[in-house]
């Protein structure tokens, strides 16, 4: 029984090694992607270009402007003279926010009256707009507290600010997006790339006709499926090792967990993703179809539905359903946990169990759909 599986394994390994260009591509492509994205994908919202439409031009309004430009979040772009210029800057995307200070800004504040400041925020990237709004409020709150403090000193009454929140971020104290992107990239890369390399293995033989050799041999379907899966799991496991070294070695991502737990979960995860690829390959009739399904079904979904950018809990119902099909959803919790939280194996049992179930389902489907007959 295992001799047949062994024979298929031998054949598949040989086929892999005989195409050295392909083999080196499978090893280097994920590395290049990880490095490019590790440097390029920055989700910290910092250095937001801000312009001011200051109708007041007083000492107080200048102080107020400085409270923006002195923070690391905003970067001074320009002082504009009219609404028209302000809108032009927003329209062209040169500025993400324009602060409009009214002409009676300082007069009103000095005479102890409330004043209104207008903010025009570029909403073309809604999540960033939302973060910018938060920063703006934070700066205004600070400014108001100072105003209030000075006011109470002046009046001789004590108007203390009654409630304040003290924030602490666990696992990633500085809320650096690096610590969140790189483990995430490990997950997504190991999601789309094994699916892609495995998505052609069966359909290629279908197109070239060599599948008939398998059809008329005594080999069982499960032997074919596993015979094709194992070599690719091996290759992507090597890739995983390289990727891991890069995240920790090159990018200095925080890693406090156990390498053993991560590796164990990764093996399961790779079995799942390679299985997905083989499943696509068994249902597709042509290589183009298989490739399209693999590309469209993995690259953007692995980023969007897995919980990479935003937690699954905030997704809409369609997004939550989609996330159940994306393998990365089950793995991302383990990876972020191991990298940043450093918990023991027992914390990941639900995730690992889900991965096992996922693997079982995928391989059953692949074996079921791999029919040893024509048409």
């Amino acid at each position: 029984m295992f001799s047949r599986l062994g024979a298929i394994l031998k054949k598949e390994f040989r086929e892999l090694i005989r195409d050295p260009l392909y083999l080196s591509l499978t090893l280097f492509v994920p590395v290049i992607i990880l490095i490019l994205m590790g440097y390029g994908l920055i989700l910290d919202v910092k250095n937001i270009p801000v312009a001011f439409l200051d109708f007041d031009r007083s000492a107080l309004s200048r102080d107020y402007r400085h409270s923006f430009t002195n923070s690391e979040y905003f970067k001074f772009h320009s002082l504009v003279g009219s609404y028209k210029e302000a809108y032009e800057l927003i329209q062209s995307g040169k500025c993400r926010v324009v602060v409009v200070i009214p002409p009676d800004f300082s007069r009103k504040l000095y005479s102890s009256k409330p004043t209104e400041v207008q903010f025009i925020v570029d909403g073309s990237f809604p999540s960033r707009a939302e973060i910018i709004k938060g920063y703006v409020s934070a700066i205004n709150n600070q400014f108001n507290q100072n105003l209030l403090y000075n006011f109470s000193l002046m009046k001789g009454v004590s108007v203390k600010f009654p409630v304040d929140a003290e924030l602490r971020a666990w696992y990633n104290p500085a809320l650096e997006s690096k610590n969140f992107i790189l483990p995430g990239m490990l997950v997504t890369t190991l999601m789309f790339y094994p699916v892609l390399i495995a998505s052609l293995v069966v359909v290629r033989e279908k197109e070239s006709g060599s599948i008939f050799n398998l059809y008329c041999s005594p080999v069982r379907t499960w032997e074919v499926v596993f015979g094709k899966a194992i070599p690719y799991i091996t290759v992507s496991f090597v890739t995983y090792l390289i990727l891991f070294i890069i995240t920790v070695g090159v990018f200095n991502t925080k890693f406090i967990g156990s390498f053993f737990v991560l590796t164990l979960a990764t093996l399961l995860y790779l079995a799942c993703t390679i299985g997905v690829g083989i499943f696509i390959s068994t249902i597709a009739k042509t290589q183009i179809t298989a490739m399209l399904i693999a590309f469209l079904g993995t690259i953007t979904p692995s980023f969007m539905y897995s919980g990479f950018f935003s937690p699954v809990t905030s997704m809409g119902i369609t997004g939550q359903i989609m996330s159940k099909f994306v393998t990365a959803t089950y793995f991302i919790g383990v990876v972020r946990g191991v990298y940043l939280k450093g918990l023991g194996l027992s914390h990941y049992l639900p995730n690992i169990l889900s991965l096992i179930l996922y693997a079982l389902a995928v391989y059953c489907l692949a074996i079921l759909f791999f029919r040893k007959r024509i048409g």
Partner: protein, 374 residues
């Protein structure tokens, strides 16, 4: 004439593959639907636990402000250990701790609540933090109002800055508008690269390209015939997508001119197809071309400027991104469709797409001739 029959052949080949057509249709409708309706980048139902040591009227009042849609209170805990467990397991992402002397300090020197947030997802954590700050700030103002007794009059008498924020183009910061357009741009990019490249590689693998080469057709005719079906199908499907999904389902206000957007988009598809041909001339089989496309496509999609705008990129990456046609296309697409910008604002993007298109076209035509010269 020869060109027409070649195009006819390519079109037939494309249309015969029913599964392929179905996948394309799904990509331009279903995928855009799930992306637009399923993904929300704003923080919603942020799983929160409360550790209230004060048990006072004020603390309950403050806790009641942490509510939907932003926060979802999962549990009230009574020990520090429980907080650790909830956060470690990832079931809760935030813990609000109200100290025992909360009530006393409100009247005295100012109370401090402690908020512990799971930093593993820094983006949503940043957003949640700003919501917390707003909530406590508003509550503080409310308390001040109460303390001063007179609601309206008090606020007429103290200097306070009132912010009026207006978010242009997307007043309610709806992610669905952003995501549905982004998915359209993503799918357009992927499909135009994949289809063209795969069509050519397949002929190479089968050896049918040799058959084409022995006929009297010119090399450039084969070249154009390969690109044309992609432009046509992507063009048609994207129209369906814009009118049915983007405008129909998600009600994205298309502010700009489609007459400006559409020709540039077709040229962009042409640019990506040329890139596809260039890849196909390098690769020997589909598996190799797939790896090459992967290494080009993934960074292009994720570093297009939609996630990391150019101003936040590192300098090297900002310059590197200049060679990606998608960077210009994303900026162009959002500016025209979403912001309603005219050619005055987007001429540089159009220029970028055209220049890169010409370069890629020349390069792939050169490779193609060298590869298949007669």
């Amino acid at each position: 004439m020869r060109l027409i029959s070649l195009i006819k052949k390519e079109m037939l080949q494309l249309l015969r593959d029913r599964v392929l057509i179905f996948i394309l249709l799904w990509a331009f409708t279903g995928m855009i639907y799930t992306a637009g309706s399923g993904i929300s980048l704003e923080v919603k139902n942020f799983p929160t636990i409360i550790y209230d040591m004060s048990h006072s009227l004020e603390s309950r009042e403050l806790v009641s402000k942490f509510q939907k849609p932003y926060f979802k209170i999962l549990a009230y805990v009574n020990t520090e250990k429980e907080i650790t467990e909830w956060l470690d397991s990832g079931k809760a992402s935030m813990a609000v701790i109200i100290p025992p002397d909360f009530k006393r300090n409100i009247d005295g020197q100012g109370a401090k609540i402690q908020v512990i947030i799971d930093g593993t997802m820094s983006m949503s954590a940043t957003m949640a933090v700003s919501y917390v700050a707003t909530i406590t700030y508003k509550y503080a103002i409310e308390l001040l109002e109460r303390k001063m007794g007179v609601t309206q009059k008090f606020f007429n008498d103290i200097p306070i800055l009132d912010e009026r924020t207006r978010v242009e183009f997307n007043p309610n910061t709806l992610t669905s508008w952003f995501m549905s357009l982004l998915e359209l741009f993503n799918v357009t990019t992927m499909v135009s690269l994949l289809l063209t490249s795969a069509a050519l590689v397949r002929e190479k693998e089968y050896g049918t390209i040799e058959q084409l080469l022995v006929t009297p057709v010119r090399t450039w005719e084969i070249f154009f015939a390969k690109i044309f079906p992609t432009c046509l199908s992507v063009g048609a499907f994207s129209l369906i997508s814009i009118f049915l999904m983007i405008k129909g389902v998600f009600k994205v206000p298309i502010r700009g001119s489609l007459f400006l957007f559409y020709p540039v988009m077709i040229f962009y598809v042409f640019t990506m197809s040329s890139l596809g041909i260039a890849i196909a001339t390098v690769a020997r089989n589909l598996a190799q071309s797939m790896m090459l496309m992967l290494v080009i496509l993934t960074p292009m999609l994720m570093l297009s400027g939609a996630w990391t705008p150019p101003e936040s990129m590192q300098t090297i990456m900002r310059y590197l991104s200049l060679i990606s046609p998608m960077r210009y296309f994303i900026d162009f697409g959002y500016s025209v469709l979403f912001k309603g910008s005219g050619i005055k604002y987007v001429w540089d993007d159009v220029l970028g797409i055209v220049v890169i298109g010409i370069v890629l076209f020349t390069f792939s035509a050169y490779r193609f001739r060298k590869n298949f010269a007669k």
